[in-house]
């Protein structure tokens, strides 16, 4: 490749690349803003959502939690009895 051609290639890539990155992220900004507004309208209480999230999680990972609880309680028990020794 000739030097000037290479420089042109580089310049074109720079312009096009930065341009595309900005256009794409602008579209993303707009979409995200719209999406958040839409969700805010139909599900107006973001404050409620952590609670909801939690309840979802607690039902979904109930078993895992129980297991962890069992493991920990067994461990604590063991730890205590071992200290008594």
């Amino acid at each position: 490749m000739q030097d000037t051609e290479l420089l042109h290639e580089g310049l074109a890539l720079m312009g096009l690349g930065m341009g595309f990155v900005f256009v794409f992220l602008t579209v993303l900004v707009i979409s995200v803003t719209l999406m958040s507004k839409l969700i805010g309208r139909f599900q107006p209480a973001p404050v409620a959502s952590p609670a909801r999230g939690k309840s979802v999680k607690s039902s979904a990972s109930k078993e895992a939690d129980d297991e962890v609880l069992a493991v920990i309680s067994a461990a604590v028990h063991r730890y205590r009895s071992s200290r008594r020794r």
Binding site: M1, D3, T4, L6, L7, E9, G10, L11, L13, M14, L16, G17, M18, F20, V21, F22, F24, L25, T26, V27, L28, V29, S31, V32, T33, M35, S36, I39, G40, Q43, P46, V47, S49, P50, R52, G53, V56, K57, A60, S61, A64
Partner: protein, 440 residues
């Protein structure tokens, strides 16, 4: 006695070339940086160690069975290989010359069919692919390893701060200027005759400025695999150097007053927004830049697993066992590219130099973009968080926070900086897609 000579002639010391010795020292140097300077040790320990393994003379850990046979097989095997490659070896030339002829044939002249046949000869007489070569073929040539790691990164990323303040995406966009300025720098150096980078190589080098290891490895494995070793080392080393590179630039480009700007607290983001975001991003990628689909697709997949809250088992594996296993394999595989002939070249110095420039320009662009946004928008933005747009998650965000605290000890910017920080990941993946689109 003859056996003793064989042992000696097969030893590393007898066969050690200067380049290999230097590369072993380079590997030890990387380990030093990783272990004592804490330079991204999760990657640099495997890469450095892999670099040493790749340069053990005669062991052939980083090369294919065919290359290994060309390098060490006896003359009869060499002639057999030459005949499958459709060539005859000059009976008057030395065995070393024969080996060189074969190397040339394999790299330039031979058809896939002939290569397969030559490879059959090599494996039939007992040569096999080196371990690191196998890792490279499985993990990097297929693209699996960087993509799986990107999935794990997605599973570890919280887009909450970004969703609370989507405008910070512009900061993540601006910081990608480091990438493209570096590409132009690299072709400039070639045009000046200082280096000899093709446009593909320049693009792969530029992506170092994205400050994202897996993205750099993915792009350079596609556009310039011969530079992968140097690019990966530069990418991870500079990411570790972010706390040194960024602060002076940040201070230079901002006034004390600007650095003291307090930002309004981020609004809470609902679970649903976090679930929808990766899908929205995926759909936009699908519509506008399919070439970024492997990278951003796996990233969004990891993030969706994290946020949807119903596949905790999978999220946990993606964040731990899977990403760790792949990191070990990827690191060793990248190390296999730290071979003397390709690494000990002037180009590597150029790459290291360009890489740091890339980080600097990206940082500047992010800061300046934040200042520009302050001109046109009411809601104030502390320009320091613009520097976090280069990604290097979460290091750059912490740097922004730290520099901010220096000016105002009550101004915690960390959460605000996480927005541009993760935006930078998306930005550089988009930039990667554009480059692959044109040059891939």
């Amino acid at each position: 006695m003859e056996k003793l000579i064989t042992l000696w002639e097969g030893s590393g010391l007898y066969n050690l070339e200067l380049g290999q010795a230097v590369m072993i020292l380079v590997g030890l140097g990387l380990l030093y940086l990783a272990i004592y300077k804490k330079f991204e040790p999760l990657l640099l320990v495997p890469i450095g160690f892999g670099g040493i393994l790749a340069n053990i003379p005669e062991a052939g850990l980083a090369i294919s069975a065919l290359d290994q046979a060309i390098h060490v097989a006896n003359p009869a095997v060499l002639q057999q290989m030459a005949s499958t490659l459709g060539a005859t070896l000059d009976p008057l030339a030395s065995v070393e010359a024969w080996r060189e002829t074969l190397v040339y044939l394999v790299n330039d002249g031979a058809s896939p069919d002939q290569l397969r046949a030559a490879r059959d000869v090599a494996t039939n007489v007992g040569y096999s692919d080196g371990l690191l070569y196998v890792f490279y073929s499985l993990a990097i040539t297929t693209g699996i390893a960087p993509l799986i790691i990107f999935m794990g990164v997605g599973a570890m990323t919280d887009f909450g701060p970004l969703l609370a303040n989507p405008r910070t995406l512009f900061l993540g966009a601006a910081a990608q200027f480091g990438i493209f300025a570096t590409v132009f720098g690299a072709v400039g150096m070639s045009a000046m005759g200082w280096m000899d980078f093709s446009i593909n190589q320049a693009a792969a080098i530029g992506i170092i400025g994205g400050a994202d290891g897996p993205t750099s490895i993915y792009v350079s494995s596609m556009l310039a695999p011969e530079l992968l070793g140097a690019i990966a080392v530069a990418a991870y080393a500079y990411m570790a150097l972010v706390p040194l590179i960024q602060p002076p630039i940040m201070r230079l480009l901002t006034t004390k007053k600007e650095r003291e700007i307090a930002m309004t607290q981020l609004r809470p983001v609902s679970k649903l927004e976090k679930i929808v975001f990766p899908l929205l991003l995926l759909v936009l990628v699908a519509l506008f830049l399919p070439d970024a689909a492997p990278l951003l697709g796996m990233f969004c997949f990891g993030n969706l697993m994290r946020e949807c809250g119903v596949v905790e088992r999978l999220t946990d594996t993606a964040q731990n066992a899977l990403i760790n296993i792949v990191t070990i394999v990827l690191g060793l595989a990248v190390g296999s590219k730290l071979m003397a002939e390709s690494f000990l070249a002037l180009e590597t110095l150029g790459i290291m130099g360009l890489g740091i420039v890339a980080f600097g320009i990206g940082t500047s662009a992010g800061v300046l973009m934040a200042k520009l946004m302050n001109l046109v928008s009411r809601m104030p933005i502390n320009p320091l968080i613009g520097a976090a747009g280069v990604s290097a998650v979460p290091m750059a965000a912490r740097v922004a926070n730290k520099v901010g605290l220096e000016s105002n000890p009550h101004n915690f910017l960390l959460m605000h900086a996480m927005g541009p920080n993760v935006a930078g990941v998306i930005g550089s993946a988009v930039a990667a897609g554009v480059m692959i689109k044109y040059l891939g």
